[in-house]
Symmetry: C2
Subunit: 114 residues, 2 copies
C-alpha cells in the first residue's frame, strides 16, 4: 500500500515527463488499480511488458526526484504551513506570541523556497 502512495506522489509531481503511452499504463496501474492482466489485455502487450514498463517508469520518476527534490521540498513547506495553521487555531496564545511564531514560521517557509 505504501508503495502505491509513493508511486502516486512521484506521478503527481513528475508524471508529465513520461510519454503518453507510459502515462496511460502507469495511471491504470497506480490510480485505477487495474490488474496487470487487465492492463495487458487493454493495451495489447504482455503482462511482463506491463510489469517492466511500470517498474521502469517508477525508476525514471524516482530519478527526477533524486535530482530535483521537489517532493522533499514541498513536504518541508507543508509541514511548516500545517504548524502555522495549528498555531492559528490555538486559542490559548497571546497576540504577541502568535505574532512571533507567525514571523518565524513564515520566514522559514520563505527560506525553504529559495
Amino acid at each position: 500500500m505504501e508503495k502505491i502512495v509513493e508511486q502516486g506522489l512521484l506521478y503527481d509531481f513528475y508524471g508529465e515527463l513520461l510519454t503518453e503511452h507510459q502515462k496511460s499504463i502507469y495511471e491504470a496501474a497506480v490510480y485505477e488499480d487495474m490488474s496487470l492482466t487487465e492492463i495487458a489485455d487493454e493495451h495489447g502487450i504482455s503482462k511482463q511488458g506491463v510489469h517492466d514498463l511500470i517498474k521502469r517508469c517508477t525508476k525514471t520518476l524516482q530519478s527526477y526526484e533524486d535530482k530535483l527534490h521537489m517532493i522533499r521540498r514541498f513536504e518541508a513547506i507543508k509541514f511548516s504551513a500545517e504548524e502555522l495553521l495549528k498555531v492559528s487555531n490555538s486559542a490559548d496564545m497571546s497576540g504577541d506570541e502568535l505574532r512571533k511564531i507567525t514571523g518565524e514560521i513564515s520566514s522559514r517557509i520563505i527560506e525553504e523556497l529559495t
Copy 2:
C-alpha cells in the same frame, strides 16, 4: 537583464536535468557572465556552438517548467509567505485579526501544495 534572471531561475530549478557538459557551459554564461568567446576558447568549441547550446538548454529548461510548473507554484507560495511575514510585522493588528489571517493564509499555502 530580465532574460538572465529568468535563465538563472530555470537553471536553479531544473539545471540538474542537463548533462555535465551543458551545465558547465550554461553556468559560465548565466552565472559567471563569461562572454561567448571566452567560453568557446575554454571549451574548445566555436562561438556559434556555445550560442546554440545555451539557446537549446534554455528551451529544454523552459519545457520542464511548461510541464511541471514548479517555478510558478513556488512563486505563488512565496507570495503568500511574504504576505504572512508582513502581517506578523504589523503592530497595529489585534491578536484575533492576526489569528484569522494567519489561518487563512496558511490554509491557502497548504492548498497550493496539493
